[in-house]
């Protein structure tokens, strides 16, 4: 009989190996169909007229000219006269036409008048935030911070900040909606929530939940921004109904994608942190603020990871007239990480300690995973040659020149990543074919591949021996892909379903092998007596015993036995060069050491970490949603001025996954978020180490680096 628990290290044929993603050949050949690629018969193209103002009341809308244009099939007002618009880019009118140029012309033919209202879009400076845009501050105190600061022999004060960035998914948000009849909706949607969005569409359209079919084979990025059906999703469905159910395709234009389809909230903080002169961390105080749009934003977890015994935090949530925030990989963690690790590295510099030594000295303050962090920091230090290259702040690491200074910086991070709820059906056919079905989605994280690995491993088949079907809400429901919850969820449900299906098969074939099912195992494409390969039959021979009836078993997470858990730690170290004359920061090397419990596919797991580090370089050095105070509009809703790192900007990488004893037995834990947390902090610390002064806010653009150098001697300098 097969058991649920994961096989021991020596008994794994696929789990933990380097396996190429199963949909790789489809993606490199253009055969992978994304929502943006769906062309349906008779399909109309949707476009949306958006508010040019950040805060305004709609006073009139005239759609007559647009409606009468040839090729225009529907014009629908989304927000009518009298509505108060809260951010530039918000949706006003939806147009559907026979082709894109016609839809664009129709948008231009719509006349909307607004009464402009005062707007506020720049929250970087707390002193300049109007009272009307501030929510009442929240305060928390732990221990006796005032007394602790009196006891502290070394105290630093500084300001640290993260500007707003956007998800900038390469495939913009969107969908193709069509009515199969007046009660049944078919939606191809670019979404992180295949299983649950049907219900949301149904509620919004007042039809039974079972009447909405959601399909998505591939998705061009989500990063936390693609959970909801969105107002524009419901509108597309409503417009489709207006045109007798014809398919309506709406994919956001690039400017809309950057303006309204999600952002990561800003986070700024004035921080005071104190230690004894031998480097014992004892006190934290922060006054923080930030915004994620009209609803403001909550406080990131300050201080981050380090459970400093005495702390006082105050947070101001600021409302702005900017497109609202959405979950962005590891919500609030990267911001909290930059603020905390930056302040701690400044404190170590003032004490005159190597920050690595300072972190290790205080490692017990990281709590239950202190040993993991310690091991990871030492491993990362070895990989980046910290001891050999690091020099105290301002001296420049080994390899610095007079005008180009090199620096090393470090950071640690955590994330939960426990399993979400997931159902899985595994079907074994009499011809030996195996199908695995889940209503999950593969965001490019390798979910499809991981499911295949778990099923094939469990059934003793080669990876190619199972077919994984996902991306359809008619498959067994699985949670949304967010919070790094997918791998734990789908691997657990797949393991249970595969085990149960196999045990049914073993029960069928045991009598024909003159034995009992408990004496059988599935290994290497065979069913055999445990430990006796001479008494075996091939997988196909065994499946043929099923006659005409396939076996289908449903596996659930949660279910019997614990197969996945939560909570990981990671350490990262960055090596940068900073040109003192131009302010340009260049990545030399970047090291990540990460744990994620049991690794299912080492190849795609490493890709997750590489990707997180590169995304982190983008936000540390380049990315910023720049809002214009005068007009209230985003100044860079495009990809030439909303800057992402290119292939030449990343330097060399080393990724080390913590595996084996102490890690594997925890089962798979999500990896999408944790490695995205530390890059900003590690890179900011490396820059401070290189140039001898903190550049307070990321992205560390050349102008900010030069301004910090100019101010050397100011609040954050010479510490």
């Amino acid at each position: 009989m097969a058991e649920y628990k994961w096989p021991e290290e020596g008994k794994r044929s696929l789990i933990g190996k380097r396996i190429s993603r199963v949909d790789g050949p489809l993606k490199v050949s253009g055969k992978a169909k994304y929502t943006f690629d769906i062309n349906r018969p008779g399909m109309l193209f949707g476009k949306i007229l958006r508010s040019p103002y950040a805060h305004a009341k709609i006073t009139s809308i005239n759609i007559d000219a647009a409606k009468s244009m040839p090729g225009v099939k529907a014009v629908k007002i989304i927000q009518d006269v009298g509505t108060e618009i809260q951010w530039a880019g918000d949706e006003i009118v939806f147009v559907a036409a026979v082709d894109e140029p016609t839809a664009e012309d129709a948008i231009r033919a719509i006349k909307v008048q607004y009464e402009k209202l005062p707007h506020f879009v720049n929250e970087q400076n707390l002193d300049k935030v109007p009272a009307t845009n501030r929510r009442p501050p929240t305060e928390q105190t732990k221990g006796t911070p005032d007394a602790a600061f009196k006891e502290a022999e070394v105290v630093i004060e500084g300001v640290y900040g993260n500007d707003v960035i956007t998800h900038c998914c390469l495939e913009s948000h969107g969908l193709v909606a069509e009515w199969e009849d007046d009660q049944h909706l078919l939606v191809h949607q670019s979404t992180q929530s295949v299983s649950s969005n049907g219900g949301d569409f149904a509620r919004g359209l007042s039809i039974p939940a079972g009447n909405v079919r959601i399909k998505m084979e591939h998705i061009g990025g989500g990063f936390g921004s693609k959970f909801p059906v969105d107002r524009w999703g419901l509108e597309a469905a409503k417009v489709s109904k207006m045109v007798d159910g014809k398919p309506v395709k709406l994919m956001l234009e690039r400017d809309a994608e950057l303006m309204v389809a999600g952002s990561r909230p800003s986070a700024y903080a004035k921080v005071k942190v104190g230690a004894t002169k031998d480097g014992r961390l004892i006190a934290w105080e922060s006054e923080s603020w930030g915004s994620g749009g009209p609803a403001g934003t909550g406080m990131p977890p300050y201080p981050y990871v380090w459970q400093i015994p005495n702390s006082k935090t105050q947070h101001h949530s600021i409302a702005t007239n900017v497109g609202p925030q959405r979950a962005w990989r590891a919500p609030n963690h990267p911001q909290a990480c930059l603020v905390t690790m930056g302040a701690l590295e400044d404190l170590a510099a003032k004490i005159g300690m190597d920050p690595l030594e300072f972190f290790i000295k205080n490692i017990e303050l990281t709590g239950a995973r202190a040993n993991v962090y310690k091991d990871e920091l030492l491993k990362a230090a070895e990989l980046i040659e910290w001891k050999k290259l690091w020099r105290p702040r301002g001296e420049g690491a080994v390899g610095s020149t007079k005008t180009v200074k090199r620096g090393l910086g470090l950071s640690i991070h955590t994330w939960g990543g426990g399993p979400h709820a997931s159902d899985c059906d595994v079907t074994i056919h009499p011809d030996g074919a195996v199908e695995v079905k889940l209503g999950t989605q593969d965001l490019g994280t390798g979910t499809r591949t991981a499911i295949g690995i778990v099923a094939a491993e469990t059934l003793g088949l080669p990876f190619e021996g199972v077919k994984v079907l996902i991306g359809d809400n008619r498959f067994p429901p699985s949670g949304s892909s967010g919070g790094s919850t997918t791998i734990g969820g789908v691997s657990s449900s797949t393991r249970r379903a595969s085990t149960d299906a196999l045990n049914e098969l073993l029960a069928k074939v045991a009598p024909t092998m003159n034995t009992t099912p408990d004496k059988l195992e599935a290994v290497g494409g065979k069913i055999q007596v445990i430990g006796d390969a001479s008494k075996s039959m091939t997988w196909q021979q065994a499946c043929a015993k099923l006659g005409t009836q396939p076996i289908t078993a449903r596996g659930k997470q949660p279910g019997k036995e614990t197969l996945a858990s939560a909570g990981v730690g990671g350490a990262q170290m960055a090596d940068v060069s900073v040109d003192l004359e131009t302010g340009v920061v260049k990545m030399n090397r970047f090291v990540a050491v990460q744990d994620c419990g049991l690794v299912i596919d080492l190849k795609t797991a490493e890709s997750q970490v590489y990707g997180a580090m590169i995304m982190g370089i983008c936000s540390a050095l380049y990315e910023e949603k720049i809002m214009d105070a005068q007009t209230g509009r985003m100044l860079n809703p495009n990809m030439e001025f909303y800057k992402l790192a290119g292939l030449a900007d990343i330097g060399e990488f080393k990724v080390h996954m913590m595996t084996g004893k102490g890690y594997d037995e925890r089962g798979p834990i999500g990896l999408g978020e944790p490695p995205t947390v530390s890059p900003g902090a590690a890179i900011s610390n490396a820059v401070a180490n290189a140039i001898g002064v903190r550049v307070p806010t990321i992205p560390l653009t050349p102008d900010r680096v030069l301004a910090a150098l100019e101010k050397k001697g100011g609040a954050n300098a010479k510490i």
């Binding site: 990063f223 590489y610 590169i614």
Partner: protein, 221 residues
Amino acid sequence: MSSPDERSDNVPNELESKTEGGVSRRNFLKGTSVALTIPLVAKSEKIVKAAGADVKILGPDKIDITLSINGNNKTAKVEPRVTLLDALRNDLDITGAKRVCDRATCGACTVIMDGKAVYSCTVLALEAQGKKIQTVEGLEQNGKLHPVQQAFVDNDAQQCGFCTPGFVMACKAMIDKYPNPTPEQVQMNLGGNLCRCGTYAGIKAAVAQAAQQSKGGKRNG
């Protein structure tokens, strides 16, 4: 934050001498109607006098165009303002090339036109007539992936995969021209493509593998 590359050599008559050291132009060619003097057959064409010469005016109505794509002639009826990218995707259902930035920054729309990687979002469909266009769908031979494609699979040079077709085509054009590209040539030739998931480490490894396999291939650059 990438380097400009040779991609905008897509415009006819762009100087051949523009090499990787130079900063290349961005060309924004979208308009509501376009005047061209190249011979085209179209129902809606008109001839007007401009500066003493006969000039054919196309549009704004739809015109018939013929495009040579992956060795096959394909016809479509599009307005002159329609880009090659949109004609491929919306009119011909050839969707490998992706629309992302739609203004010659990200490279997701890269196709090969007369041997050169171009941003198909910044080439007009009618302008692409008479040229040999290769899209990512045309790389496989007899069901076998092109070595560049295989290298992307082997080195996991993709995550969500939305930038991948553009990268594959830019990489293919580069390897054709420089069978053993230097790191600088890789940075320059792939500097006009952007990835959001962060697959550059895999792409660098894929380039190394593809270059290894193309050794002995003839230089055509």
